[in-house]
Symmetry: C2
Subunit: 247 residues, 2 copies
DNA sequence: CTAGCTCAGTTGGTTAGAGCAGCTGACTCT
DNA sequence: AGAGTCAGCTGCTCTAACCAACTGAGCTAG
């Protein structure tokens, strides 16, 4: 076996590349089925094992999606793997005494302040209404017991940047939010006061609605100042306390 | 085998998590050696094959680094995998007729304009001198034949944002640059006029040096306007032309 | 004595074949 | 006609063997 003529040496590293090329060349869109493992074995001239290892790598990058007993498909290519990597990197660094969580917040702050100033006065009315509704909902959730606050928070930031009409940008924003949220909860961080968050979200909406770029930027900055303060009070805790879910 | 007591069912998905936890719990820093494959087999109660597939996934996320005949080590956790994923996603989308490359440029533009305004007047003199030198070097390279221009360009953007003293932020900036550059060259994009780039880089340095945030933002925007124009003229070419390197 | 080589032992890379597990669809029995 | 069953895909896991890259101890030649 493995007599593909030119690939007698080196295999795994290139297998991934060849599978990627296969996707490109065949113009396969997300969700399209990939050849089965036996087919890939023959097509690539490699053993089952090598093919599977290559697929595992591609799966980790979100390029491929594997469903047991069903088949292998072109992945959604979402930024989920990036979130995973970013979150792990942050957690690992945190336990080694680095201020990685703060850096992550600063990253979000830098990007969002940069975007919101361009957004001021250019958010469609529909989105503004939706943002209002999201703040309302968070106030309700705060009054009840706090369930679902995180989702509402996430939705707020996602909706805010929808007007940029750049899918990639929106996804990157969401990815950063997800990474931060996962790390913050895994590390048992101090939850924020929902009412403060609501007030700051409200101010962001008003600032954007008014079209005042400076005010909008200031609103975002204050919001993140609040988040930053919480992060700074998060001490290094014992890693075994973070067993709530994954790393 | 596989009689770890509780893990008779389900294996692979958790193997990665367990290896990650091992890194966290042992406070392993980048470059620290991981247990060898046989050791991991015993520790995790899984076969060599499963262990290797898990490691392949972690390697794809940059969490682990595997060196043939040497050992397995904690990875640098750089954003290289993100670049990989982003680049592939952009290329794949491009060939399916989507404007993914333009989106990528817009992403860079949005982030950099947001950052540069905060940077104005706060870049250390040493960095400014270095930036001047980088523009000088690019002018030389342009006069000679163009070799190494891309590296100088990359170094310019990297140096510019070094003053933010946030390693993560710098890496994200570089990652976006890398992804764009790889896609642009793979797609056989129109190379920019180096002299225009030099002039625009010069203007960015001067704007930042003067401390004028508005001017700095304008300079960045003009620079990216130039890049955007080039990208828009990049037609969809045949995928077989992009064999210069990887996908 | 040192420079260089060789060789055994380590580590990861690859292959092979067998059996397990999840899903689908057609076939059969009621 | 409907529900259960079974054969057939699919990917998942294990075992066992051998290949390839690297290290370091020991030997040999200069």
């Amino acid at each position: 076996m493995c007599l593909a003529g030119y690939a007698l040496v080196m295999a795994a590293r290139d297998l991934q590349e060849r599978i990627k090329r296969l996707i490109i060349d065949r113009r396969l869109a997300s969700g399209a089925p990939l050849p089965t493992e036996p087919e890939l074995m023959e097509h690539l001239g490699a053993s089952r094992n090598s093919v599977r290892e290559a697929l595992k790598g591609l799966q980790a990058m979100g390029i491929v999606e594997i469903r047991h007993g069903f088949g292998t498909y072109v992945g959604t290519m979402s930024l989920a793997p990036m979130i995973e990597g970013l979150a792990f990197r942050t957690v690992a660094g945190h336990y080694r005494g680095e201020d990685t969580l703060l850096q992550l917040v600063q990253l979000r702050e830098a990007v969002e302040t940069g975007l919101v100033s361009r957004l001021a006065g250019r958010v469609p009315e529909g989105d503004l209404v939706e943002l209002d509704a999201l703040v309302d909902r968070m106030e309700e959730q705060a009054a009840r017991g706090g369930d679902g606050i995180a989702d509402t928070d996430r939705a707020f930031h996602a909706t805010l940047y929808r007007g940029l009409d750049n899918a990639l940008l929106g996804e990157v924003m969401e990815a950063f939010w997800d990474a931060f949220h996962r790390v913050h909860t895994d590390l048992g961080g101090v939850p924020q006061d929902p009412l403060v968050t609501c007030r700051q979200h409200r101010e962001i909406v008003e600032a954007v609605r008014s079209g005042d770029a400076i005010r909008a930027e200031e609103a975002i900055r204050e919001h993140f100042g609040n988040i930053r303060a919480r992060v700074s009070t998060t001490g290094t805790q014992d890693p075994h306390r973070c067993h709530n879910e994954r790393v």
